[in-house]
Amino acid sequence: MHTLLKAATIAGAALALAASGISKESKLQTGFLNKSYQRNGKEYRYVVYVPRGYDAAKKWPAIMFLHGYGECGTDGWKPVAQGIGTAVLWDADKWPFIIVIPQKTIPGSEWEQHDDVVMKTLSLTREQYSVDPHRIYLTGLSQGGHGTWVEGSMHTDIWAAIAPICGYPGAAFTTDPVPGGGKPFTGSVDDLATKLKGMPVWAFHGEADSVVPVQHTKDLVAAINAKGGSAKQTLYPGIDHNSWDKAYREENLPAWFLQHTR
């Protein structure tokens, strides 16, 4: 086995060269960056992913990611550990996007009640980075799938495309008060479809989802297309609630986003 010998040689060479000159760190700070803002004396934490090749001279597409129930909190980080964050960590070259990852602090409430958080983190990101206003996308899973349908319909002037994963139409989590927050969505599938009929939509759901029935996605997609919209759906046979693992590893999802510009 001569790999060890080879290894030793290379290690020796590396030692010699490393001693002679190690390059300085780049001034540009990229990666999964901690961010926060203050409102009414409270700190709102979020994370922004900035790709290694980020260059402020170029306009970058951006994705807003809305997490699910289990990642609610105030730590700022948990939302990175489920969904798009893990997909980007695993295959960064496929995701040349600025990605905004806010955190919903109150589990028993819906994303649309935290519309201010979504809009604030997006506008801060647009101030701090060179974001292409024509290529801003929205996606999310479970509660964030619901958030994607509803926030998608509330801001059709912002999103170039949306990708809701295992979401649902009507608000399901309304047990916790949201001081100063918005109202949970009480409209119908038809209301959402009317607003989203001009929006490129790619929806995902596990057919064996035991938490959020797959019928919700089927109904929403059918309603949009009945109005002349262009919603597509990918349903995974035998997959339970965690369809996001498959969805964010779909080969074509990043490219599909990029096909759509406003």
Partner: protein
């Protein structure tokens, strides 16, 4: 529509009662920061985790994390997803450390092949951040468990503690034409005064848990007092338990070279 989440009530209550966090704008960007350096003429992308509350007027402990074979590559980010990286994302409060994440450029190389680059990253992190030199820790999984034993032993004067997970020594990878550079006994002697916490799944089908047992025995034979945790029924991915379920961060902090 009614959705039942078992822990909903408890979590909701916990959330509402969370006290407002203290505001603190730091000039140093924090998070998983992408970096690179050159060693041996090659560019090594790597990452450094900097806690949100990093404050350069304080000295911070540092962990060097060595990933497994599957996270090898040149993307500079994969190694933040498996092991200590995901543990930090799930529970950042438990990891108040600067964490250095080198990436091994290919699967076949063992970590010691890239020892110079790895040590250069530690040195660079000590320049970039206010690191406490008496609290440098080393951990890794699988190939990185092996790297923890070997680079741990070779720089035993540096580490305040070492935690190799499902690792292995050199003896079983060697043959008559290519003797190991260090025997298990050599590694054991080098680490006899270093606090070691080794982990292995007893149902590991990729790396025989006997490898960890042999190395732990070698440290003991040299007079050391290593700690070992073996998980019955757990296969190769013992790192999930080690980084998520154990108080490894607190154990690290209980050791310093002060």
């Amino acid at each position: 529509m009614k959705i039942l989440f078992p822990v909903a009530a408890a979590l909701a209550a916990a959330c509402i009662t969370t006290a407002p966090a203290v505001a603190r704008a730091s000039k140093t960007p924090t998070g998983f920061i992408l970096k690179s350096l050159k060693a041996n003429g090659a560019a090594y992308p790597y990452a450094v985790y900097v806690p949100r509350n990093y404050d350069s007027s304080k000295k911070w402990p540092l962990i060097l994390f060595l990933h497994g074979s599957g996270e090898s590559g040149a993307d500079g980010l994969k190694m933040c997803q498996v092991g200590i990286g995901s543990a930090i994302q799930m529970n950042a409060e438990k990891w108040p450390f600067i964490v250095v994440f080198p990436q091994k450029p290919n699967i076949p190389d063992q970590w010691e092949v890239h020892e110079a680059a790895v040590m250069a990253m530690v040195a660079q992190a000590r320049k970039d951040y206010n690191v406490d030199g008496s609290r440098l820790y080393l951990t890794g999984l699988s190939q990185g468990g092996h790297g923890s034993w070997v680079i741990g032993a070779r720089h035993a004067d540096l580490w305040a503690a070492v935690a190799p997970i499902c690792g292995y020594g050199m003896e079983r990878r060697a043959d008559a034409n290519n003797p190991p550079k260090e025997t298990d006994a050599d590694l054991g002697r080098a680490l006899k005064d270093t606090p070691v916490w080794a982990f292995h799944g007893l149902a590991d089908t990729v790396v025989d848990p006997q490898q960890t047992k042999d190395l732990v025995a070698a440290v003991e034979a040299a007079g050391g007092r290593p700690k070992a945790t073996y998980y019955p029924g757990v296969n190769h991915d013992s790192w999930d338990k080690a980084y998520h379920d154990e108080d490894l961060g607190a154990w690290f902090l209980s050791h310093s070279r002060g």
